[in-house]
Symmetry: C2
């Protein structure tokens, strides 16, 4: 049975970390909220689950994954669940908990990227919090990119130079690719400059992009372009 | 062998979610950075691990747990690792992944609490970002507390009214207690008002506090008082 991924249909967002794992594994999945609605899919199908008062274990927010009767929300938890099933993590507890730690640290940076354009409130638009965004983005570029990149670079180096965990590609590598890809879109100046000092990150970004299934996905219509509704937004004034 | 918990010694912070699980289970543990240093403990012992370039899998930040040769960082990952070992989660994958989702949602709210006093940058003091904090805290009180509390109240209700997962106390219940306890310290007005509409949350907070081991811990010297260095800070102007 195909996995059902539920996420906002107009943006990559956090759903993209799950999509990349499914695509790399060649797993059958339905991107439910992007369906046309005539077969029970579409945004309404996702909203029905979110608002279903008979569901004992309702998601707090998208993305969530349905695997038969199992519903899993929270991006990192979805990947914790999917990783072994998709062959995207090793079999030992030590490898799995390490990959998960990395995923949670990626998630922390993703939240910080989001907050560069929404430092005050998700209930307001960017235009309603521009001065605060300018201050937050300046700190993000000056302090947070180097801190996170430094750690990612170090752990790749200590693992032999090419992967985050073990000797093969894991979901953590795919998620780091997505984080870097988003940063290159949102903060091209700051990210290109930072990658010069973090060559293993640049190499990982290229290596993942060239994987056959990932490359085919990235050039397909299934890959929603980055845009200013998502987590990674290009506001040139925040990258000056 | 005793677990080693490593965390900043002057504040509860994210380490407290781990401490509560260890205390409820009566597990032997050493709060390493709070040691006096004469036995190889103390803040220096924690810093040595963080800066140890021979460590293949270094923590990004405290808290982290050492269990023999295993080092686990990221609060939610630590509890994922400890939960089964401490008897604080059931045996099925479904229960474990659900408890973990809840923990990650608690972690998201903890980050938002922190950002009410640090919306611009962790590298600055609260005093350097007071106007931004006032705006963020107002939104947090108006929109975020109701959204998170509504979900927690709903999932307790759909689970029979007393616990988050299953029929016994799990680490998720302990973490929700800590979140509520911190909010009652930092935002007493907003939190008391919100709890009136969320009676199951108020009942869970009281029930956890009265558990013998938790109560003994809370009145002990091991419980660091809330203060204005931690995540939950009482700045009355943010709760007006």
């Amino acid at each position: 049975m195909a996995y059902e991924l539920h996420y906002w249909p107009m943006l990559q967002g956090r759903g993209e970390f799950v999509r990349l794992a499914l695509e790399e594994a060649g797993a059958p999945y339905i991107d439910v909220a992007r369906g046309k609605g005539d077969d029970g899919s579409g945004l309404e199908a996702m909203m029905r689950i979110l608002e279903d008062s008979s569901l004992c274990r309702p998601p707090f927010a998208p993305p969530f994954l349905k695997d038969g009767a199992v519903v899993v929300a929270q991006t990192a938890a979805i990947l914790l669940y999917l990783g072994p099933r998709l062959g995207l993590i090793g079999t030992t507890e030590a490898d799995r908990i390490w990959a998960h730690q990395i995923q949670l640290t990626i998630a922390d940076m993703v939240t910080e990227v989001h907050d560069t354009h929404h430092p005050v409130a998700v209930s307001l638009t960017y235009e309603e919090q521009k001065p605060e965004s300018a201050r937050r983005a300046a700190d993000f570029r000056a302090h947070r990119i180097p801190k996170f990149f430094g750690w990612f670079e170090r752990i790749i180096g200590r693992n032999g130079g090419h992967h985050l965990v073990g000797r093969t590609v894991t979901y953590a590598d795919l998620s780091l690719f997505q984080l870097l890809d988003g940063l290159l879109y949102a903060f091209p100046n700051a990210t290109h400059a930072a990658l010069k000092d973090h060559p293993r990150l640049e190499a990982l970004h290229l290596a993942i992009r060239e994987r056959p299934r990932i490359f085919a996905y990235l050039v397909s219509e299934r890959r929603i372009p980055f845009n200013e509704q998502g987590i990674f937004r290009r506001y040139p004034e925040l990258d000056a």
